[in-house]
């Protein structure tokens, strides 16, 4: 007699076997005509550029961490929603159940929101923009001189 773990193990074996069989049959049946275009890495239609091992900006990780936090919150919201809307529970408690469940979720979301507020107030969400350095030339000629010259010659050409 198989235990429940045995059933799961069978599932895993079946999944691996299914993929292996499907890929092997596909290999036997399909035509084999590779070219450069077909062999490039698929990147949503873009041409892949450069090495994948580049250093990412550290700020991505902070944003990603906060994102994961709220992603997990969402995962909890789904099972909560089914329990929240259960008609039998609401009927048993004269609608009090709904308020109870809503308050519990509000506390949960509220605590997570406090965390977001903390990160925000600490400035972890600020995306510091790179300040482009404009080339500056040190010159003894005052900048407005060029303007004056331009103006003067523009008038001259007009009059001619």
């Amino acid at each position: 007699m198989l235990s429940d773990f045995g059933v799961i193990f069978l599932f895993i074996i079946t999944a691996i076997a299914f993929i292996a069989v499907a890929l092997t049959i596909a290999r036997l049946v399909r035509p084999h005509r590779p070219n450069v275009e077909k062999l490039t890495t698929y990147e949503s239609g873009e041409d892949p550029l450069g090495n994948a091992n580049v250093q990412f900006n550290g700020r991505f990780y902070v944003i990603a961490l906060i994102f994961v936090l709220f992603e997990v919150e969402l995962v909890f919201l789904f099972p909560w929603a089914t329990v929240f809307g259960q008609a039998s529970l609401i009927a048993q408690t004269d609608g009090l159940w709904g308020w109870f469940a809503l308050a519990e979720m509000a506390i949960f979301v509220g605590i997570l929101a406090l965390g977001l507020v903390y990160a925000w107030a600490k400035g972890y969400l600020d995306w510091v923009r790179p300040q482009p350095k404009l080339p500056a030339v040190k010159s003894s000629v005052p900048a407005d001189l060029y303007g004056k010259v331009n103006k003067k010659y523009a008038q001259k050409t007009k009059s001619v």
Partner: protein
Amino acid sequence: MLSIILLSIFGIVVLFLGFQKSKNILLPATLLCIAIAFAANFVHWNDAPGLYFKEMLFENRLTMSFSAIVLLSAFLVVALTRGFADDEAAQPAEYYAIILFSLVGAIMMIGFDNLIMLFLGVEILSVSMYVLTGSDKRNLRSNEAALKYFLMGAFATGIMLFGIALLYGATGSFNLTDIRGYVGTNSFSISTLLYVGLLLVLIGMLFKVSAAPFHFWTPDVYDGAPTVFTAFMSTIVKTAGFAAIYRLLSGSFEGIYNFWWFTLAAITILTLVVGNITAVYQQSFKRMMAYSSISHAGYLLLSLTAMTAQTPDAIVFYSLAYSLATVSAFGVLMAVAREKSVQSHENAEDFEAFNGLGKRNPLLAFVLTVSMLSLAGIPLTAGFWGKFFIFGTIVERGNLIWMLIVAILMSAVGIYYYFKVIIATYMKDGETGALRVPPFYRIVLIVSTTLTLLFGLIPKLLS
């Protein structure tokens, strides 16, 4: 259970207190929070035992005592943190908040009634400890310790989770009472999954309390972490871990004692021998304390292996004695090492740091001596009665006298390295000039030493 809710709220409050310009309010606020949680811990003292949060958590006088020990040692350790807000890059509010959150995890581990709660508690406590270990951000050794602790801890947690899954597979429940029922009713046809699952859960838990084959992370992590968090780790994590193992074994698996006692006995002997023998060879006081904490895990395991009616009381008393002595030992180390690290950065935590302490500051020397005597188990200190009660449980079990002999031999070895510290304090000449101790330190050290001596003189005080 009130203390869990309170500590969670306090953690958030302390986190937001950090936005204030003055950081001085944080320490008293955190101490106040822990004191309130300590008081709230005893609210249900008279109507215990009880189940809370839909049978997720359990509370009786034993779990309350364990929580009280955890909160008391947390209070003493936090009181020693004075001065770590001085560093400009430090984030004291976050450290205090993490400490408060980690206490929530510890209390959950102590009073779980559902294996999910055990896992959650272990994770809350461990993740906090990973962060606190690496809190000295600029220190390479602190970073290394945090990474080591995290990687090894994550593996151990994974193993434990796997064990919990197998236990669920065997019994169909996460609930301790249901598992006990399964073990009781099917005593002749227990699924093999249950045995494997129990062993895997035990491995995960023994890793957290640093028992011998799973102790490799301990010296490096204790050595690399900031001293105050080493004190936190070696008291709170250990107490909560042993409370959790006791609760697991006594709550569900007493029926199959014949299966697990030998495994636990082998691990106990290995822990005692490895911890004590290796501690002898250490040059750094912090590493010595790390190995000594491994050996104390061995003594506590001894009592778990016996598993008699006296075991819970013995573990409670031993944890309390050990926590008090450890806090004062690390407190003295911090007071001495801080002075020393200003002058030269190297070997600030070696035994030589204590040279001549007896003349420089008699109070510190006395505190250190009492704490070392208590750890070694010399009479008139709490540590003696702790060992006495632990050995008492073994004698009561009857057929495990050979373990008792090993334990006594090993505690004789322990006396050697604890006395090395005392000899350095009184007999060796070191720097001269009085050592100034901040008043906060002095209060904590006096309190923990007084309690150690008090419980050493009147062990019946705690009952």
